[in-house]
């Protein structure tokens, strides 16, 4: 499982304040926590600061990489912000994210063309949000074809099939799961990325639904998530789900998670 730690996001109050104050120590402590908890990438987002996003994203990237050797997921729809962060980033970054929305597609594609960056490709187009598996596949195909045509290797593409709230349509969980399976079948070497907590919007005990949904999506082929790596019950659920899905030889990772205290019945 490829875990992108989501905590360094300016829309979270404490992080937004730390960015404004230039509180590098706070940002570093969050980055270290995420790194230690098993994040493979540290997401950095300064999206709430209109006009200053580029400077702040660059600062976040530098600050995070002072304490963590993990690459960052540069989280912005704005090519100028991504470029600013790329100028200081060490290692191979993840770009979060490109989509089929015309403006975003045209502006971000030149930045990732011919690189070995990891690219999150969000299943969204100007026609709106896809609601069915078929709608998502149409968009996913265009994203994959467009990116590979510009020299992005298929194994560097992380498709985000877009999770929508189950509480507003009872098919939204299944349509997502079916999409993951269908994309995986069509492109065996592709990866996935998604923020799946949206599934439980409007429902009680959201974390409970999130964990079950994660397990189902992993069974379908999901291999990446942007999430809070400090969420121990979720990390435990992931370890169990991967083992059950046949992706953990002799349960080595599950047992490691158990010894780390992540797995509790």
């Amino acid at each position: 499982m490829i875990i992108v730690g989501e905590l360094i996001n300016a829309s979270r109050k404490a992080v937004g304040e730390a960015i404004e104050k230039g509180d590098a120590e706070y940002i570093k402590s969050v980055a270290m926590d995420e790194d230690k908890a098993g994040a493979n990438y540290i997401d950095v987002n300064a999206g709430i600061f209109v006009g200053k996003e580029a400077d702040y994203l660059k600062w976040l990237t530098t600050t995070v990489q002072e304490v963590s050797e993990k690459p960052c997921a540069l989280d912005s729809p704005d090519p100028l912000a991504i470029e600013a962060a790329l100028a200081v980033h060490k290692g191979t970054p993840m770009i979060n994210s490109i989509s089929l929305e015309k403006d975003r597609w045209e502006k971000l594609l030149p930045l990732v063309a011919g690189t070995d960056f990891k690219v999150v490709a969000l299943c969204m187009s100007d026609e709106g949000m896809p609601t069915t598996c078929a709608d998502r596949l149409v968009i996913a195909d265009k994203l994959v074809e467009g990116l590979t045509a510009k020299g992005v290797a298929i194994e560097n593409i992380y498709v985000d099939p877009l999770v929508q709230p189950l509480g507003t349509n009872h098919t939204f969980g299944l349509e997502f799961i079916n999409t993951v399976a269908a994309i995986k079948e069509r492109y065996p070497n592709i990866h996935f990325m998604c923020g799946l907590s949206n599934i439980s919007y409007g429902l009680p005990e959201r974390k409970f639904i999130n964990r079950i949904f994660m397990a189902q999506a992993i069974y379908a082929g999901l291999d990446g998530a942007i999430m809070n790596p400090l969420d121990q019950p979720m990390m435990g659920a992931i370890a169990a789900a991967e083992a059950l899905a046949g992706r953990d030889r002799m349960c080595v990772k599950y047992l490691k998670a158990f010894r780390a205290g992540l797995v509790k019945a």
Partner: protein, 207 residues
């Protein structure tokens, strides 16, 4: 058989039974306005209150709204002819550059449940489209939704465009990143945190 059955059907999400219940009440000579207010709008107020208190959840609110709508569809053609009338027209939409529609739809359904007539412009709506729709419908309120920090500026632009057009309509804003402070800053008339709150706010704004 009474209006109470209609009320109860909304609360129990009996959408299939609703049309017959309404027809029976009409056949029995029920007052159309009373049927609307006490049979359809009152239970939606109850549902909204229970949602705000954390006792009911989004799917239940949606089911109640859908049930209410089944009844409203039958009453609507009769409302213009005499008796009841809509609480006012509200134009709603998600602002330019933003494709999120779930929150906006939820608010639209609850406003409809509150007795308002809704003109839904959809998602990715240009400021001038809001202005035109507000003008042509003589809307009392324009409701704006934004789910992204990157589209909040388009919300401000739309509020300004409505003011510049000199229309006599109020604005209300909402969406995950939107706050009361932001609403005040951009000069929107009102802000609501959730859908039932939007109904309460809309009632205040039209009075």
């Amino acid at each position: 058989m009474s209006i109470k059955d209609v009320y109860q059907a909304v609360i129990d999400f009996e959408d299939d039974a609703m049309p017959d219940l309404i027809k029976k009440e009409l056949d029995a000579g029920a007052d159309i306005n009373k049927l609307l207010q006490e049979g359809l709008i009152a239970p939606m107020d109850y549902v909204g209150k229970k949602f705000s208190e954390g006792e009911l959840f989004v799917p239940e609110m949606l089911m109640a709204a859908q049930t209410m709508k089944k009844g409203l569809e039958i009453l609507k053609p009769l409302l213009g002819a005499g008796g009841g009338s809509s609480a006012g027209k509200i134009v709603i939409g998600t602002v330019r550059g933003d494709l999120h529609d779930i929150g906006k739809n939820l608010v639209g359904m609850m406003l409809e449940g509150g007795g308002f007539e809704i003109i839904d412009l959809g998602v990715d709506v240009e400021p001038k489209a809001f202005v035109e729709a507000a003008k042509s419908n003589s809307a009392k309120i324009v409701g704006l939704s934004a789910l992204l920090t990157t589209t909040m500026p388009a919300m401000e632009e739309t509020v300004n465009a409505l003011k510049e057009a000199g229309l006599d309509c109020k604005t209300m804003v909402g969406g995950a990143p939107v706050t009361q402070a932001f609403a005040d800053k951009i000069g929107a008339t009102g802000y609501s945190e959730d859908a039932p709150g939007a109904v309460e706010l809309a009632r205040k704004l039209v009075n």
